[in-house]
Subunit: 249 residues, 2 copies
């Protein structure tokens, strides 16, 4: 005992992730760290309300009530909806993987991802988080983040590939150039074979998101990609500015 009922119910919901979209009762209890009988009761309540749904084979999945609430989250109803047409245009003209991301603490949270046809290893998934220092969108968000966030990230530059920037001074210099030139790039720093370029998305003066693309090679097409990204980013910013009723961060 000692844990609240609410925290246990939330732990049950939190047992689901990208790799575990359907869970048996026993797995739910185990992953949430809750005795089976207790889990059974709480899962029953979540199911009756619609937070969970039960499949014919007995497994539980996230229910439609959570899906509907998720649509109300500012990140969904504001940024993602505003950005969607521009992301599809961008994807349509380049056929590369397109990302829209926001900062979440000291990580990048992927808000939207349109998968490209080009054979490039892409590890992002909508709703997932990746490190800021090794991704294009992450470098953009880091460049405009509060100083305390930047300091926290700079303390923990883990190597992901042989090309990952792990020296603080070098990353600081890159971030300064992001602010000066208006875009960030990476070269196989997150995945071998994948390069990226990203630009900021502003709401007024505030950088609220980053828009990026992943391609196998940047060398010949960088100016064209930067231009296309900036056009899309401006479009998103105009749309955000035109919808003052929806607040989001």
């Amino acid at each position: 005992m000692g844990e609240s009922v609410t925290s246990r119910a939330l732990a049950l919901l939190g047992a689901f992730d990208g790799e575990h979209r359907s869970l048996s009762l026993t797995d739910l209890a185990r992953r949430a760290g809750i005795p089976l009988a207790t889990a059974h009761r709480l899962v029953g309540e979540l199911h009756r309300w619609g937070a969970l749904a039960r499949e014919p084979n007995g497994g539980y999945v996230i229910g439609r009530r959570i899906w509907q609430l998720g649509l109300l989250a500012p990140v969904q109803s504001g940024l993602r909806q505003a950005a969607s047409p521009f992301l599809h245009d961008l994807y349509g003209t380049t056929l590369a993987t397109v990302h829209l991301a926001v900062r979440d603490g000291v990580e990048v949270l992927y808000v939207e991802r349109l998968a490209g046809h080009v054979s490039v290893p892409v590890v992002s998934r909508v709703g997932s988080r990746l490190p800021m220092h090794a991704t294009g969108v992450g470098k953009v968000l880091l460049a405009y983040a509060p100083e305390e966030v930047r300091l926290e990230v700079l303390k923990n530059l883990t190597r992901i590939t042989a090309y990952t920037v792990t020296q603080p001074a070098r990353l600081i210099d890159q971030l300064r150039r992001v602010r000066a030139e208006g875009y960030a790039t990476t070269g196989e720093e997150m995945s071998l074979g994948a390069c990226s370029v990203a630009v900021p998305v502003r709401n007024g003066d505030t950088v609220v998101a980053a828009l990026g693309m992943v391609v196998p090679d940047l060398r010949r097409q960088l100016p064209r990609l930067v231009s296309a990204l900036q056009v899309a980013a401006h479009g998103i910013s105009r749309t955000l500015a035109a919808s003052p009723s929806v607040q989001w961060k």
Copy 2:
């Protein structure tokens, strides 16, 4: 007393809807029917976990953890993702409002909606429900619904406009023709000035969704719209069939 802690926490989450995306603590307590002190404690827990977020002005909004869980719901990760490219293609070629909907009990649940430029009154919103008998997607879903669902809907044919079909025999005949011809239409039955056409989306033999469009007038362009909808619906079906790992309903 008498209500469970879990049901109260869920009631707080359920206080949010399309018209109430940001709520003060007092409003949350009121809408959830919970004393202020109790609401304060439970909202604090939801906030700490990330189910709710607090805005600078003190209002609460749905938090990112709910948004992320919502992405895991089968309706999101299966149908909606599979359908997205086809919906954008359809929208791109017609510029009309495009809907993707599923049956939820005896109502239509709108899973995706791409808003058109044509000035047609459209009342649907993603995540919302509308009656089955007065919408194109609803008639499709009703035509292929279990008998007991059909009987339940037929008992309650409320009039929405002067053109709404409220006689059971007439609707039964229309549903038979939906199954025979492969598409449903409406003519100002839900909103004056709005006509719609919809087709079934199948997964194997099962009709799992309906794909529809809303236009001001159907008379000259019905065959072309039906054809475009069916092409898109087949594409969605093929994509669903190719992703067996994701289960959804």
